[in-house]
Amino acid sequence: MIRVTSSDAHRLAKKYGYKAFMVERYLALFKDQTDQFLQGNDQEFPKTIRVNTLAIPILEEKKRLETKGFDLASIDGLAYAFQVLDSPLALGATTEYLVGHYMLQSPASMWAVEVLGPRGDQLVVDMCAAPGGKTTLIAQLMENQGAIVATDISRNRIRSLRSNLSRMRVENSLVMRMDAAQLPDLGLQADAVLLDAPCTGEGLIPLDPSRKQSRTPADYTTLAQVQRKLIVAGAKLLRKGGVMVYSTCSFAPEENEEIIDFALQQCPLRIISTNLPFGDSGLTSFFGHEVDASLRLARRFYPYKHGMEGFFICKMEKQTA
């Protein structure tokens, strides 16, 4: 953990409105690109929607929204997703939204599910599922076949999950309100597990600038403890040959590469390629630490480079039962 803040860190922290300790960490990670990185966190991204093919064909919905005056742009690699460049109505209050034709969802969140690659003959577990953006995409890719076990511990957030499952016409989910770390007690043998772990959410600074000031150094440690417990539980849930995707919306290696490195030591997992044609490689050394070299197969996304919120995705396969 970096403790001493440099004059560069103070200067940039003041310029961009961050706590100095955060910028000190970014200087160690991004070096001479730190200024660009911080500038990138101040840019706004167009809202994006994902058409729900369980409810309507993609082009039919596109045409319908364009007739209403929406200006939509395709997103490379995500046939069902569109950037909304202009909208005459609030995206969350149209009739189309209410009848479940689309979900407001970031591309990074969609990519995490694409990397998981769920199929309709599988048992898929979504460990921290609320409010359900990824769960409903999993159901969409499974064409409402097979089964999804979705969990969340929060009483309020699980209501949002249920509401979205209903609105988006998901029919193949079983939702449990519980600590996902206890999921192995249920004796499931999952084909695929998605762990979009609770995190500091640094990657969401472009959407919520209050995060520049709301985090403390202790947050990384506290959340890393939770993430370690969850990833070990996720590995236990998998059958041999099953795959797990671990994702966060954080830049912090303590919440990403260090968690995966810990899991590789504790569980029979190996990292496999995400097959994503973009994104930076995962880090294999940071803050004076070295981690497993296969972490280069993980993917990092930065607002200043990839035009989306900050995100981390790593895909793993279970090697033995």
Partner: protein, 180 residues
């Protein structure tokens, strides 16, 4: 759930009597054949709690349900509705299926203005109905659809003093007002 509060449920199959109420509730909106299509290959589960909630569960989900017992799910499959005093109050989750198979006598189409008013929770006046001679429609539960024949919610048609109106019982605007 439709009132937005968490309801802890203990699940089990419905009794024969409860199953009859559930089928009767569906037959009020769709044909016996459409009810059979909805339920074939699936099973009913009743979650008993502060409110009694009915779910339709596919075979893979049923196997999972049996596996997770004695823990009880929060939600499973398709939420069919709430069973209250022997009456099924159908949910928004099943609205699309009911709308697609709705009996003509309980199908009410509304115009764009009516659509917006209904989605804001308002009742509908007869001037907002489209293409229907309501003299043959009985008072009782109806499904309100927009001009594209998409279900917007459930209403109760009343006739009094020569005036016909539809009281809003549950509409998709619930997702914005209570579902977040």
């Amino acid at each position: 759930m439709q009132n937005g509060k968490t309801n802890r449920l203990i699940f089990g199959p419905p009794s024969e009597e409860e199953t009859r109420y559930i089928r009767q509730g569906l037959v009020a909106f769709i044909s016996e054949e459409a009810v059979n299509r909805l339920l074939e290959k699936n099973r009913l589960l009743l979650g008993r709690g502060r409110r009694n909630e009915v779910f339709i569960v596919s075979s893979p989900l049923w196997m999972l349900y049996e596996q997770v017992l004695p823990r009880h799910p929060y939600f499973i499959g398709i939420f069919l509705g709430e069973l209250r005093k022997g009456e099924l109050l159908p949910s928004l989750h099943v609205l699309h299926y009911l709308s697609s198979n709705i009996k003509p006598e309980v199908r009410i189409l509304t115009d764009d203005k009516g659509e917006q008013r209904f989605l804001y929770g308002h009742s509908l006046a007869s001037s907002e109905f489209v293409g229907k001679d309501l003299s043959f429609v009985k008072s009782g539960p109806v499904v309100v659809l927009n001009a594209k024949a998409e279900g917007l919610g459930y209403g109760h048609l009343t006739k009094s003093g020569g005036k016909t109106q539809i009281k809003n019982r549950l509409d998709l605007g619930w997702y914005l007002r209570r579902g977040r």
